[in-house]
Amino acid sequence: MTGRPRLKLLSRDRPRGQWHPAANAQLLYGLAGVLGVLAVWEVGSRTGLVSNLFFSRPTAIIVAGIEEVQLPRFWVDFRASATEFAVGYGIAVLLAVPVGLAVGWYRRLQYAVDPWLNFLNALPRVALLPILVVWFGLGLESKIVIVFLGAFFSIVIPTIQGVKTVDRRYLDVARSFGASRRRLFTSVVAPATVPFTTTGLRFGVARALIGVVVGELYAATVGLGVMITRAGATFQTDRMLFGVLIFTIAGVVAVEALRKVERYFERWRPAQQAA
């Protein structure tokens, strides 16, 4: 598809053997990259080239992780973070999809909310955290709201976009068959919006995770962010990086899962295939 591989084929004819190195090259190099960095980190830390205090080392992080998961407190933190994420993201999905559809469908409503949407979308929503803490306190509520705000705009904006870019031909066909406005909406516009919404869902997950982390780092009494802060304050870098690792894994899993969903609905996406 892209230029590079074609150039390679032109410039160098690879022998076609039984075992083709190129097929596995990506995996091999990837593994080498991962293991290489981990090895340098580990050795550097053991020999004192990398500060053990600041950066810990891979084995120490694993050990700290094994110790952590046996502590009941860890699971309390984990549950708090998971709840904040699930509730905040869930409410965001439940609200953002209907709101996005409505705003996309009713032109005047869109005119009325557009300035607000643009402003709140350009604003780093985490900036609202101090006022949310004043309003909702240090508990789960303020975190749920910040997670909600993070995800909501990421979902609502593509959804509006989706309604606005419904393929003109579909609308014409539906009208030719005398579809009512209601039918037009439920059987043409809403399904055509799905691919856009799923993209929004994926962006929203990342935003929601940031909300959890920042909310807990800023002001909370329980949660993985608190665990990271606590470990940092006591110079337990290994525990701290274990906490970060959990967020990384959560991010990778959630984004990959939603990418799968997205790819499934991608087939519905109108304009792109037509162009």
Binding site: G3, A32, G33, L120, P124, V134, W135, K164, R168
Partner: protein
């Protein structure tokens, strides 16, 4: 026969040219109406007035404590005060410097890194897993570590902004290099361009739209980084201004800070979008 074909041609023509968005079609005369352009503005202003009016009313009627909710008039007053007394400027400058330095370093490192990753296939294989991991990590989780290593001063903010931005920029740049059209390579080869010339005159310019996309995404992330690190540990900056006024229940000032940030976000976003539009002609038509 000829008549019907002609009519069909007319019909299709009408359908294809009328590719306006859905809602407009409900008001067939709307495109010609002199009211149309202003309707957007009218409803936009209406939206503003309704929200701000309700806010002001709720606050004045005392339905919610004024200390908590503040109100548009109080925010205006607080903002005017802090601008007049000059309190806000050191915060704005500090945030600006942190942002500019971190973002500058991120561009200076992210673009070459992305170009290298896009150009050298094996390098891409090696760093891909790491980039994917960092990309999926909420980088803000590393802020406590950065503060541990670099303290609470300017350095830690610059590092956070850099961390937030560099990966997006590098990933977009690499995508740009890889999306360079095959025929450009073929043409360059036909003219016996060296690898170096191909890179400098074909790949680099072709990547610019993608680099700019990375920059646009980076701006948003960098703002988050700067604000959060100021929330967590600092004594100056817009993030500190917001956070400090939150702890002393100066809600009006908190909102003023938030509004400033929103304006900064809008301005930066618009700026990048303008630059992007200039280079849009270079963007290959992706299927």
């Amino acid at each position: 026969m000829a008549g019907s074909v002609c009519r069909r041609a007319e019909r299709t023509d009408r359908v294809t040219t009328q590719t306006t968005a859905l809602p407009r079609s409900r008001h067939p005369g709307s495109t010609r109406s002199p009211w149309m352009p202003s309707e957007r503005i009218v409803f936009g202003i209406l939206g503003f007035i309704v929200v701000l009016g309700a806010w002001e009313a709720i606050s004045r009627l005392g339905l919610v404590k004024k200390v908590l909710l503040s109100s548009p008039s109080l925010i205006l007053e607080a903002g005017a005060n802090d601008i007049a007394s000059g309190v806000i400027w050191p915060h704005l400058t500090a945030t600006g410097v942190e942002f500019a330095l971190g973002f500058g370093v991120a561009l200076a490192t992210g673009i070459p890194l992305g170009l290298a990753i896009g150009w050298f296939r094996r390098l891409r294989y090696v760093v891909d897993p790491w980039l994917a991991a960092v990309y999926a990590t909420p980088t803000v989780a590393l802020i406590p570590l950065v503060i541990l290593v670099a303290g609470i001063g300017l350095t830690s903010k610059v590092i956070v902004v850099w961390l937030e931005t560099v990966v997006v920029v590098a990933v977009s740049t690499a995508a740009g290099v890889r999306a360079t059209e095959a025929r450009y390579y073929d043409i360059a080869r036909s003219f016996r361009a060296s690898k170096r010339t191909t890179f400098l005159t074909v790949v680099l310019p072709a990547s610019i739209p993608f680099i700019l996309t990375g920059v646009r995404l980076g701006v948003g992330r960098a703002l988050v980084g700067v604000i959060v690190s100021e929330f967590i540990a600092s004594n100056v900056g817009i993030g500190f201004y917001i956070s400090y006024n939150g702890t002393v229940f100066q809600s009006a000032r908190v909102f003023f800070g938030i509004i400033l940030l929103g304006l900064i976000g809008i301005t930066l976003g618009e700026l990048v979008r303008r630059i992007e539009r200039r280079f849009d002609v270079w963007r290959p038509a992706l299927a």
